[in-house]
Amino acid sequence: MYSKDGENYFIVDAHVALWDARPANQRNIHGQQFIDCFYDYHRNLSPAEETWPYEDFLRYGGERLMKDLFEDGYVDHAIFQPALLGAFYRNGFGQTEEAFALTRKYPGKLTYNHAYDPRFGEDGLQRLREDAKRFDLQGVKLYTAEWFGDSRGWKLDDPWSYRYLEACRELGINKIHIHKGPTIRPLDRDAFDVADVDKVATDFTDLTFVIEHCGLPRLEDFCWIATQEPNVHAGLAVAMPFIHTRPRYFAQIMGELLYWLDEDRIHFSSDYAIWTPRWLVERFVDFQIPADMTEYAPLTVDVKKKILGLNAAALYGIPVPAELQVSPPPAVAPEQQPAVAVA
């Protein structure tokens, strides 16, 4: 919880990771290039006093994560959104077992979302069923730009992806987080393109699709889709730190998201450990749309409360103390509500 000026904010960090990018875990040069790219994001968009030494960034471990998020960072609940990157790292980039063990050690504080790749076909489907049970999965994080053999990416509307989404629906995995952000690959299988989200959001109305990095670098395409598809949400990973380096640009992103979506479908994320939540939370609470940007409404305290935690709490069913709620509370999508028997 974060308190400022007599207001209390319940904080859900909806996108965190526990990675191992040390040279010993790097499978090839791309493993080094990938973490170096993250480190450049970190150095470029963080305030100088918040930057880490490179060695710490390669590997920080679970206890540091707990401290940065929960002791120093005001976070009440955090959600792991791992990237596997098996083509770049021997034991994967995100550390599944270690992250899952943390969720067991600190019940109520952490949710473990898992990752899958539909190019693993039937074997992967079987694995997903086992993982769903073992990890008690509510959500997954999908990385469509992942390399696999000769393939440098996949799309949500590929036939195998549909099979996996059908399995998710059956297994109760109803939060599908998708990385659509500044990266990587690909050629015609353009992983920046958010058009495949449109298709699956229409075909799977009972699943919620959270687009991480809110479609940046294609914000306008994302907004257009989210306007039409009420089950499409925006994750603010990577958008948040612009609050420091480019505050007017950050104001424009927030203004556009609030205009095209609504205040119930935007989720705060630090993208830890690229950024730590403490300074992001503090600055967001202090932030306001500049007065000369008359095209956007000011950010109210209630809107900030929803974005910082209440929206993700509603989506994930995370309990929120009544005094930290707003009135009216964020809308819960129909599929997240308890089933009601109909006579």
Partner: protein, 243 residues
């Protein structure tokens, strides 16, 4: 700098990053230009991350080689992309003049023409919004109503790039084919155009910053972005207290 090197820089100034809608020279993507006395030209390009999309990388490097090869004084041209995850592939493809499909094989199903057109259209949409936002122009303004500014000139260039008409009586706000929108739709279309402009500007901020982080000193090679020159001050002005 030799005469050929100067000509090479001028040619590279015509190569655009399609997504950011800026010349690669202004972005600092040109690392070095060297010419020998007998006209052998070698150019190195660099990008903000190892993982910049290879289709864009190929498009810029390929355009650079095409334009440089047209210089009458260039006996040979080598263009190399440094520090990219596909540097080996792209540089070999450029050396062999293999083209995009010849370089990337099975996954490059189409040519880059469609990608280029998509981003030309986005660039035009953004230029239209910038032109209309200057001095609070009316959404129904005609080209002839726009003030004589760099933003207006930029819009005219983008329209010409797409083969759209530029007569003073033509409406400013048009679709990708140059057709005006029905009046009741105009405000909404301008609003959408604004999100396109913000998206492009944001990408430019991000990519420019990452290049500076990745290559210390490269800021000296970057020209200020147009929107920074004409539109948006970077400091956040004080906000009026809510009453």
């Amino acid at each position: 700098m030799t005469a050929l090197e100067m000509l090479a820089w001028a040619a590279l100034n015509q190569v655009m990053d399609p997504e950011l809608d800026e010349p690669i020279t202004d972005l600092g993507f040109v690392r070095s230009v060297e010419a020998t006395d007998d006209g052998h030209l070698t150019v190195h390009l660099r990008l903000p991350t190892s993982f910049c999309s290879p289709n864009f990388a190929y498009l810029m490097a390929g355009d650079a080689k095409d334009l440089l090869s047209r210089l009458p004084d260039a006996a040979s041209v080598v263009v190399e992309l440094d520090d990219h995850h596909d540097s080996g592939l792209i540089n070999a493809g450029l050396a062999a003049d293999a083209g995009y499909r010849g370089t990337f094989g099975a996954e490059a199903e189409d040519s880059l023409d469609e990608l280029r057109l998509t981003f030309r259209r986005k660039a035009h949409t953004a230029a239209m919004e910038r032109a209309l936002s200057q001095e609070g122009m009316d959404v129904g303004a005609r080209l002839g109503d726009l003030p004589d500014t760099p933003l207006t000139a930029a819009l005219i260039r983008r329209r010409e790039d797409l083969g759209l008409t530029v007569a003073p009586g033509d409406p400013v706000l048009v679709d990708d084919e140059g057709r005006p929108y029905p009046a009741p739709e105009a405000e909404f279309r301008l609003r959408r155009a604004r999100s396109t402009r913000i998206s492009i500007d944001g990408n430019a901020h991000f990519c420019r910053g990452l290049l500076r982080t990745r290559y210390p000193g490269s800021e000296a090679d970057q020209a200020p972005r147009a929107d920074e020159r004409f539109l948006l001050p970077l400091a956040i002005p004080p906000v009026a207290e809510a009453s």
